[in-house]
Amino acid sequence: MALLEVKDVTVHFRTKRGEVQALDRVSFALERGEALGLVGESGCGKTTLALTIMRLLAENARILGGHIWFKGTDLLALPEEAMRHVRWKGISMVFQAAMNALNPVYRVGDQIVEAILTHEPKVTVREARERVAELFRLVGLDPKRMDHYPHEFSGGMRQRAVIAMALACHPDVILADEPTTALDVIIQDRILHRLDEIRKQLNMSIIYISHDIAVIAEVADTVGVMYAGKLVEIGPTEAIFRRPHHPYTEGLMGAFPSVRGPKRELATIPGEPPNLLNPPSGCRFHPRCPYATARCKAEEPPLVPFEVGHLAACWHPRNA
């Protein structure tokens, strides 16, 4: 059984202008020790998915269906009290604007100690501090800096402190939502390497969420591609990059510039992502798809395997 299994999760947001169909029947499974990368553009629902798993959605969100099985329990059916135990200890999250997630008036170390004590009341302060020192070493920070305030840390250091905080209660799964987006490449490189090492060392699972397919290519074993609230393709990283089935995945790969290899022509995906207040009928990508036919407009393609472990939702798959 998978460690975390998301099954047919549908989430809508109620807004003044109408119902935003943010997630539509998203399903995937995550094994222990696996690194899953979710790529997609802004507004495709990747952050909503993470918040749904954490049950931290805004008040106007409605979960219309689906299950999230974590170690055999359905998180969506769990009472809030029980869910609080799962957060941090079972699944923790590194937020997008994590650099600002630290409270400026408390010492960095104390904030992590606080987080540990809240979730594990049996731990003493001394033990918690020892654990924080260990975590600091783990993420590559000097434990001596535990008693510094956030403003004394650089952006990269703060990001690492936040990762240390996410690791504090030895979670089984970490959701890393754009963990390095605001950082420069050299620091990004360091943090991604460290996260990858920690994952292997502690045999954790990580879900990386990013718009940067190059980052995902480097850190993920499995890649899920999201478009307009739907998971359109999922499979082993190499298969996704070598033989993308969905035209959107293909376009994304072609549009991404690289500093390595020969300089090839960049592809353009015409049009704009749809408004989820009123998503297109059938396949949500069909208005931008060069291979779209009448069937794509009328019928919604199911997510089906084309190879072992490589699924795509397309009527006219590429490289299949």
Binding site: F13, R14, T15, K16, A58, E59, N60
Partner: protein, 377 residues
């Protein structure tokens, strides 16, 4: 070889573009409609607007009533000089004089001007009562509400409702006028000091500090005793003082955040002058907040007027503040008197509170439009 200004073509026939002024009108209408929807949903805003409308109608009603219903009895219903002979309370004929008798707390009134007391006012025992000399029977002073006088009469026999309606106009004028002056000054000063910074900024900000710490009411009391402050001059004085005060600090901090936004830099790169940037970029983005503060300033102006009138230092014939002052000097605020002749004090004081609150409510309603963070999703 030189870069010519790009020659702009004359519009060819066949291509029809919407005229800019027409499009702007359309956008304005749409914008107002959208804002109105949000304002309506704030609940508190429409409530304020409703109260304001009520007092607006009251203010409008006064001249109409004077011209129609009260036309035959203008002397009775005149808010300042009215007096109803049908109600007996000792006959105030406008020549009210009083002297204190030796060894007595009582007031004597010489009604017919013969130098001898005609009525005696028994001291301040609560409700002011009077009796004719030689008459043992004291009669009630101010008349309670009746069909003839909806809100009764004041100690001088004037119709309270007429006073209330008459004053409403003055309150509106004062409040809106003062707030308008405040906001115009505040917005300009804020935009200019935020944009230019340096000495200009330091000067206006220190001035704002001074004004903010300044005991404005005490200053106005002194000013009121030195000069004859009427409604107009009070509006200007209040407007100017508030304009250089706290509002500049609030608006300036907003203007500073606008100034550093890239569209201001973009306008500079396009060759926009300082004036262009202030007028086209900073002020339009400041206006919603200014408008919001204008509402709060109406409240503050009306309130200041009430306080100053209460101290009796304004050269104003009639206002809600004066009405409260009348109740006070006639002795109806002391002791348990408020409940005995409630109609003298409450209509005016409640009106001050309600109208002040109403503008504040409107401000709060606008707040939700101006500050999207407060908006419910």
């Amino acid at each position: 070889m030189a870069v010519p200004a790009p020659p702009l073509k004359k519009p060819p026939k066949g291509r029809h573009l919407e005229a800019p002024w027409r499009a702007r009108l359309r956008l304005l209408r749409r914008g107002l409609a959208g804002s109105w929807g949000m304002f309506w949903e704030s609940r508190i805003g429409p409530l304020g607007l409703f109260i304001i409308a009520f007092y607006g109608l009251l203010a409008l009603a006064h001249p109409i009533l004077m011209a129609t219903v009260w036309a035959d009895e203008r002397d009775v219903y005149d808010p300042k000089h009215g007096y109803d002979p049908q109600i007996i309370y000792g006959g105030f004929d406008g020549r009210l004089q009083s002297t204190v008798a030796p060894g007595s707390d009582d007031y004597y009134v010489d009604a017919n001007g013969d130098g001898r007391p005609d009525y005696i006012y028994a001291g301040w025992d609560g409700v002011l009562q009077s009796k004719a000399v030689g008459d043992d029977k004291y009669r009630g002073g101010p008349a309670p509400p009746s069909l003839r006088h909806w809100l009764g009469t004041d100690p001088w026999g004037r119709d309270v409702f007429s006073q209330l309606a008459f004053s409403a106009r003055a309150e509106f004028f004062l409040g809106v006028m003062a707030a308008l002056i405040t906001v115009v000054i505040g917005t300009l000063v804020a935009a200019i000091s935020a944009y230019y910074g340096g000495f200009v900024d330091t000067f206006f900000m220190r001035l704002a500090d001074v004004v903010l710490l300044f005991p404005v009411i005490a200053f106005l009391i002194v000013l009121g005793s030195m000069f004859q402050l009427n409604l107009y001059s009070l509006a200007v004085v209040l407007g100017v003082i508030n304009g250089f005060g706290g509002i500049t600090i609030v608006l300036k901090s907003q203007a500073l955040s606008i100034k550093v936004r890239p569209f201001v830099e973009a306008a500079k790169v396009a060759g926009g002058s300082h004036m262009h940037i202030i007028v086209r970029h900073i002020i339009p983005n400041l206006l919603p907040l200014s408008f919001l503060y204008m509402m709060f300033n109406v409240t503050s102006a009306i309130f200041s007027e009430a306080v100053l009138s209460f101290f009796g230092i304004l050269n104003i014939d009639m206002s809600w503040g004066i009405m409260v002052q009348m109740a006070n000097i006639a002795g109806y605020l002391q002791g348990g008197a408020i409940t005995k002749a409630w109609w003298i004090f409450f209509p005016a004081s409640i009106s001050i509170t309600l109208l002040c609150a109403a503008f504040y409510f409107v401000g709060r309603g606008l707040d939700e439009i101006v500050n999207p963070r407060l908006r419910k999703v």
